[in-house]
């Protein structure tokens, strides 16, 4: 099975995947990239009101073949003061 590398940027730090995961094909890598984002977000939230989580998929030749992003936009309504 081909190996794909999943670099994750949670808006605060970037992780480069040095080992990769074996997956059936590019479609499976796409699905895995999308599926990892809510998992990452679940562990990071609720810190911050604006967060973007990104997963970049590289193939064995180091070509970026897919990028998925997941955004959180959270704001208070009619509170008149900063959430801080």
């Amino acid at each position: 099975m081909p190996r794909f590398f999943f670099d994750i940027d949670d808006g605060e730090s970037r992780e480069t995947d040095g080992r990769g995961s074996e997956l059936l094909n590019a479609q499976a890598a796409r699905n895995a990239a999308i599926a990892i984002l809510p998992d990452v977000a679940r562990e990071e939230l609720p810190d911050g009101d604006r967060r973007t989580f990104m997963c970049k998929v590289r193939d064995e030749s180091d070509n970026v073949i897919f990028i998925a992003t997941l955004s959180l936009v959270a704001e208070w309504i009619n509170r008149g003061v900063s959430a801080k």
């Binding site: 999943f6 992780e15 080992r19 990769g20 995961s21 599926a35 990892i36 998992d39 990452v40 562990e43």
Partner: protein, 236 residues
């Protein structure tokens, strides 16, 4: 080796020489399994139980569309399905995670053992109860901990169990589970497992190469995992 079972049962209560000899005679025949082979089928009604003598195995359930949940990991000295002595059909399957040697123990032999040594019924009841305690810990682990903590916790559990069996050498042991199997044991995708393993490595808590897990500082891993070995009931 059956000695692993004897050593484990003695964590609960010391055994007499006669009880130990009778336990040694329990496995009627020994079978070898390849990695990935099924040791017991879900839904089967076996009239014997299996004890892992060498290697690693896991219990699992198959869900729809081929999804799999690993519900426990067995190491040498563990019965993989002692409960099928009273619980049939088997509500899970068992597979070998590495080349494995498995002793088959006919239920009739267990009946004769308990008739001869009634005290051993408490020991075997203890063994099944510890299995239940481990399952409860896995439930809490998967329900409430991050991927990083879950893997750290699983590694702590296996480290302590292997250590008590005398199978930890140079702060490490054979761990044949793949990234996918670790994911199936923790309810995580293999990509998420990969990411969390990388973080555990970067934090200096583990090395995991060629199916060998090394823990340079078990106290540090225990602390990260929020691990308390009391649920293993192996402290004697």
């Amino acid at each position: 080796m059956i000695e692993f079972l004897i050593r484990k049962l003695e964590r609960f209560a010391p055994l007499t020489a006669e009880e130990r000899e009778s336990l040694k005679l329990l496995p009627s025949k020994v079978r070898n399994f390849e990695r990935g082979q099924t040791i017991a089928q879900q839904g089967a009604r076996p009239d014997e139980s299996a004890i892992l003598l060498e290697g690693c195995a896991f219990r699992y359930k198959l869900l729809k569309e081929g999804a799999r949940q690993i519900v426990s990991v067995q190491i040498p000295g563990d019965f993989v399905d002692l409960h099928c002595f009273v619980l049939r059909p088997l509500d899970h399957a068992v597979a070998a995670a590495s080349p494995a040697r498995v002793g088959r123990v006919p239920h009739e032999a267990i009946r004769q053992l308990l008739a001869k040594h009634p005290r051993l019924s408490e020991s075997l009841m203890w063994d099944i109860a510890v299995d239940g305690a481990i399952s409860r810990e896995w439930l809490a682990n998967q329900g409430r901990r991050s991927a990083y903590e879950q893997l750290a916790h699983l590694f702590c559990e296996l480290y302590f169990r292997m250590d008590w069996a005398g199978l930890v050498q140079e702060q490490g042991f054979e761990l044949p589970l793949t990234q996918i199997e670790l994911g199936d044991a923790c309810g995580l995708s293999s990509v998420h497992v990969n990411r969390s393993l990388q973080a555990l490595r970067q934090d200096g808590l583990i090395t995991f190469e060629n199916h060998r897990l090394t823990v340079p500082n078990i106290e540090a891993l225990v602390s990260q995992a929020d691990f308390d070995p009391a649920y293993l009931h192996l402290l004697g």
